[in-house]
Symmetry: C2
């Protein structure tokens, strides 16, 4: 047996492709964004728009179906802010997809418009997987543009450029680009005792336990961030770290980096600023949690969450 540099997984079965928000079939044409890209895209017959009130996607509700796709003329009553719209990309057919923030207040919207956050869209399966991926991209970029209306260097007003992928200060010309925050999320495995480390934040739904996680800080590798966060939150020392999958997480613009990590110690010391509980779970316990059959009511994050993926892929690992 030779060790291939690649696992035997085909792209369609790769773990990243099995997470929520990861399916996004748009062709971004990132090298060809210029000052006219957005205007050109808006003028294309058949262009469809996603409308956002803050981080919430507006769904049209006709009594039967929920539809997030607006034709340009349908947006008028929502006061679209085209100055801060974002060209997400193009369907294989050439149809442009554009994210547009609206200026109407949520409380002034007609009742057939339903503002819905990305978490609910995913949890309640309100739209298809590909649209969910486009919404993730849209939320992140709309949020970033809204958070950067002024220049961080001089306080001057900034303007959107390159189809929403750049902002330039009107006073000092300082240019900034969209932000994506890498977060490590890790399933730490005690191989000797065949169990894994899970914790509970006080912000979680009742009974839910998940993988520990934290932002990668400037000047860290992925592996050093996994070791630091695990040690700080649980007191557990980590040895080897194996990358498993990534997931775009639009709350508001994170990149979740999912890893397996090897426990080198066993005694947990909880950081009670972050966690209200942290403990080892056996294979049978984790199976019951992901299957939602745990007698004690404990549960895992929902299907599609990268923590769920890490748990079921550990359970199913061909050992």
């Amino acid at each position: 047996m030779t060790l291939s540099i690649f696992s035997s997984t085909s792209p369609h079965l790769e773990a990243s492709n099995l997470t929520a928000f990861a399916q996004n079939g748009l062709e971004r044409q990132s090298e060809h964004r210029d000052e006219d890209s957005l205007k050109r895209a808006l003028s294309v017959e058949g262009a469809h728009l996603l409308a956002f009130a803050g981080d919430k996607l507006i769904l049209k509700h006709d009594g039967q179906v929920l539809d997030p796709l607006f034709a340009p003329y349908e947006l008028a009553e929502l006061k679209p802010d085209f100055e801060n719209a974002v060209l997400l990309g193009f369907q294989p057919s050439g149809e442009p997809r554009i994210a547009v923030p609206i200026l109407s207040a949520v409380e002034d919207l007609a009742s057939h418009f339903k503002p819905t956050d990305a978490r609910s869209l995913y949890r309640d399966e309100l739209i298809g997987e590909e649209l969910l991926g486009e919404v993730a991209q849209g939320v992140s970029l709309i949020h970033w543009n809204a958070d950067n209306r002024f220049c961080g260097r001089c306080g001057g007003r900034s303007e959107s450029r390159s189809g929403g992928y750049k902002r330039v200060c009107t006073a000092c010309e300082h240019a900034i680009f969209p932000r994506t925050d890498p977060v490590v999320i890790m399933l730490t495995i005690d191989e000797e005792n065949d169990r894994v480390l899970l914790g509970r934040s006080p912000r979680f739904p009742e009974g839910m336990y998940s993988c520990l996680a934290g932002f990668v800080e400037p000047g860290e590798t992925m592996e050093s961030a996994v070791r630091r966060e695990t040690l700080e939150e649980s007191g557990i020392a980590v040895g080897r770290v194996a990358y498993h999958a990534t997931q775009p997480w639009p709350m508001p613009h994170s990149l979740m980096i999912g890893c397996f990590s090897e426990a080198l110690s066993r005694d947990i010391v909880i950081d009670d600023l972050e966690l209200e509980d942290c403990r080892w779970f056996t294979r049978a316990e984790v199976r019951a949690m992901v299957d939602m059959t745990a007698a004690d009511g404990r549960s895992a994050p929902l299907k599609g969450a990268i923590a769920h993926r890490l748990m079921i892929d550990w359970l199913d690992w061909p050992a």
Copy 2:
């Protein structure tokens, strides 16, 4: 043979630990940063400071050695800006390490102070590996603080908090946190013909070829970013993607994510906005480039660069 979830690599030999800027032994105590952390650290006997003029580290040069570590009293003549200093962390001995921006102009510095950028520190091996890791952390955080003196939401003045890991607007109280930009960098392999894809940006030193690379965009997985960037820059379709290593890259605050990727096509179409050349290289050609023995003068990025790591680890893969 069972397939372990972990490769057989021990943490000290993991590819990420063999890249420049990755060695950083500081204990960050990230969960315990508060409004007094920096002040407390500055008052500790034996605290050492790294001084930055913009993105440049100040080295003290006594005619023989280059020393980047300042005692607090040594900084006075450089006009230290302690309001925007950053507590990097603590040595195992408990000694704090603090990054401090200076207000003196570079051209006004006495001749025994040498402002040096992170790239030169690494290329010319001017300081040890652990210090290089601390400098990477320092540059990124000093740069981020300097780029965010004003609030992006309202244009108000912001203030540093939590030891330099948070800025809060004095007008609207909007809080922001340090930024780290994930970048994918990939060695694309044509397995059938045992060769790899490398390109040349017009900004590279003469003769240098490297892996293709690009920022991960909001709403992408690592794997989808690898496929998009490779397709856009070279026209090559990518199938499987394997994570290899990460590297902190302080120009100014990136996280390089190094991958191997599988070529599904062979015909290159160069994006001439980004690259001035892009071609396939055989195993013998890559070996000569990393060994600096190529008769045509072509070369690889320097040892310590993650692209160099990807090349030599491909050459040495046990196939």
